[in-house]
Every structure is written in structure tokens, then in C-alpha cells.
């Protein structure tokens, strides 16, 4: 294990860097006091692109390979996705997804 002071220094560097990342564009657009129109057009796609990139690999990839069609997480994710088409209720979607995950895991 590296020395205590170096651990703290590393934590400090990560903390400052992460704060800078989090604040990057909030600070930049505050500085110029506006969000350029072209940029705003791009920003409209951030939620869709990011949410898909956040969720999908967690469902279809495990240990560096695509999961099998019988994989509980894939089945649960697909059924939860289908539920999301029918209802907006977050609790229902989560309950269905977790319920299917547990049932399929128990059966498999």
C-alpha cells in the first residue's frame, strides 16, 4: 500500500478533477452567459444517448461478452422495457423488472 499522504493526495486530485468535470460546461456557459443555439440543438440528444449507453451494456454485457438469451438480466430488462412502453410509473417498471429477475434466476 502506498503511503497515507500519497493516498490522500490522489483522493484530492481525483476530487478536484471530478469537480472540474462536473462544473465544466455549467461554468463555461455561465461565463459567456448563454448556451449557443447549435450547442443547444446537440444537447437535446444527450438524455436519449446517455441513458441508452448507461442502461443497455448493464443488461446485455457480462464479463466482456454478450449474455445468452436465457440470461435473467436480459429477460428482466426486456420485460421491464416492454412495461415502460405501457406505463410511466417508475415503481411498476422496477417492480416488474426485479420480480422477473428474481423469478428467472430462481428457475434457471
Amino acid at each position: 500500500m502506498i503511503a497515507d499522504s500519497l493516498v490522500w493526495a490522489t483522493i484530492g486530485i481525483i476530487a478536484v478533477g471530478t469537480f472540474a468535470i462536473r462544473g465544466s460546461f455549467i461554468a463555461l456557459f455561465s461565463l459567456i452567459d448563454a448556451v449557443p443555439r447549435r450547442v443547444e440543438l446537440l444537447l437535446g440528444f444527450v438524455p436519449a444517448a446517455v441513458l441508452a449507453a448507461l442502461a443497455v451494456p448493464n443488461i446485455v454485457v457480462a464479463d466482456g461478452t454478450l449474455v445468452a438469451l436465457s440470461e435473467p438480466r436480459l429477460i428482466a430488462g426486456a420485460i421491464a422495457g416492454g412495461t415502460a412502453v405501457i406505463t410511466d410509473n417508475m415503481f411498476t417498471i422496477i417492480a416488474v423488472g426485479m420480480g422477473v429477475l428474481w423469478i428467472v434466476t430462481a428457475v434457471a
Binding site: M1, I2, D4, L6, V7, W8, A9, T10, I11, G12, I14, G17, T18, F19, I21, R22, G23, S24, F25, I26, L28, F29, S30, D33, V35, V39, L42, L43, G44, F45, V46, P47, A48, A49, V50, L51, A52, A53, A55, V56, P57, N58, I59, V61, G64, T65, R73, G77, A80, G81, A84, D88, M90, I93, I94, G97, M98, L101, W102, T105
Partner: protein, 238 residues
């Protein structure tokens, strides 16, 4: 009246984040337990949660501390994992531009995947004033912050006690999936989602050393969506 609607948004934020909490609890416990197991002190492990407050990067840093990696490698790895939050910063910026400076600093410090995802979905769905936007965001983000600190501390003290068989962490991608369902309401946004997912999956399959899948997937998705909107069939651009 204004105050009451702000309180309403605060409560709405807390309510909306509650399913995510289910998935965050085991994650926080692991962040605590893994830190002390890797040889960090309780204070250092807690320090990561308090000062960095970004789970995936904390776990990567802990893993590397345990392997006696150099501080440059540890810091760079953690920051690359966190680079995706630049996209959140940009996406939230139009909504927080008029906030007071101190509030902007607080918003910045507690920015996470989950706080971003829930807030941007809420802002797109409802017509909210600045105060309401701020309180909704804080309802989500500060709840996450408190849960993260408490579960890290518990993980340090008693280890990760949640049975892994429950797979509670799966609640987190489910929440993202649920919010995604609401946000892909145009063809070009669907294109953005598909491209974002495919690129992120490909990166995960390649098992690259650096966890850039989210940033690359997100960027590729955004560009694809924009190109589709400007050039593609069916949707006219303004």
C-alpha cells in the same frame, strides 16, 4: 404559493429517486467494504465518498490502490471514468444558468448519473421555474448524497451485508431504462439512443482498459441524432 410549489418539487424529487435508492444501497456498501479490504483507512475510504462522490470511479481507484498502482494511473483512470459527466454538465447548463453562484457550485458537487437523468427528464416534462428546478434537483441529488455517505460508512463498519443473490444493483439500469422510454419521443432521439447503446456495448465487449464507453457512446449518439434530424428523412429541421 411559490414556496409551496418548490416544496412540492423537492418532495417529487425525493419520491422519484426512491426506486434508485434500492439499487444504490448495495453499491454504497461495497464502496465502503472494498475500501478497507483494499487496505485504505476508514477515513480515506470515507474521504473518497465525500470528496469524489462518484461510485464507479471510487471502486476503480480502490481496486488500483489495492494493486499498489502509481498515483498518476489511479487519478487518470478515475477521471476518465468521470469524464462522461461533462455531458451532464452541458445538458443541465441551460437550466441552471440563472441560479445563484453558490447554488451552481452545490449543483456541480452533487452531480451524478442519477441526479442528471431524473432531473433532465423532469425539466423536459414539466414547465418549471428556476426555483422549482433547483429544488427538484436537490431533492434527488441530496437524497443520493446522504444515502451514499451512510451506506459507505456502514460498509466500512460491517462490510457489504446485502446478499448478492438479490441483485439489487440491477434497479439502477432499470431506472435508466424507464426514463429512456420517456425521452425517446422523436425518431432522431431514437437514433441517438440506438447509436449510444451500440457504441457503449461495443466498447464494453472490447473490454478496453479505460472505461470510456459512456462518454464515447453518449457522444456518438448525440452526433447521430443531430445528423439524423438535419439530414434524415421524415423530420424537418428548423
Amino acid at each position: 404559493m411559490v414556496n409551496s410549489s418548490r416544496t412540492t418539487e423537492l418532495r417529487q424529487g425525493v419520491r422519484d429517486v426512491s426506486p434508485i435508492i434500492i439499487g444504490i444501497v448495495p453499491f454504497g456498501l461495497i464502496a465502503g467494504a472494498a475500501g478497507v479490504e483494499a487496505g485504505l483507512s476508514a477515513a480515506q475510504t470515507m474521504g473518497l465518498s465525500i470528496f469524489v462522490f462518484a461510485g464507479a470511479s471510487q471502486l476503480a481507484a480502490i481496486e488500483l490502490f489495492g494493486q499498489d498502482a502509481g498515483i498518476g494511473l489511479i487519478a487518470i483512470t478515475a477521471l476518465i471514468i468521470n469524464a462522461r459527466m461533462m455531458m451532464y454538465s452541458a445538458s443541465l447548463a441551460p437550466h441552471v444558468l440563472e441560479f445563484r453562484r453558490r447554488l451552481k457550485l452545490l449543483v456541480t458537487y452533487v452531480l451524478t448519473d442519477q441526479a442528471y437523468a431524473l432531473s433532465i427528464a423532469r425539466y423536459e416534462q414539466a414547465e418549471l421555474g428556476d426555483g422549482q428546478k433547483a429544488w427538484y434537483y436537490l431533492g434527488v441529488a441530496l437524497t443520493l448524497w446522504v444515502v451514499w455517505q451512510v451506506t459507505t460508512a456502514i460498509g466500512i463498519m460491517i462490510g457489504a451485508a446485502v446478499p448478492p443473490a438479490l441483485q439489487l444493483e440491477f434497479a439502477v439500469p432499470l431506472v435508466f431504462l424507464a426514463i429512456l422510454g420517456k425521452s425517446i419521443n422523436t425518431t432522431s432521439r431514437q437514433v441517438a439512443a440506438v447509436v449510444g447503446a451500440v457504441v457503449a456495448v461495443l466498447w464494453a465487449l472490447l473490454e478496453m482498459q479505460y472505461d470510456l464507453g459512456l462518454l464515447l457512446g453518449g457522444t456518438a449518439g448525440v452526433l447521430a441524432g443531430a445528423v439524423w434530424m438535419l439530414r434524415g428523412p421524415g423530420e424537418q429541421h428548423r
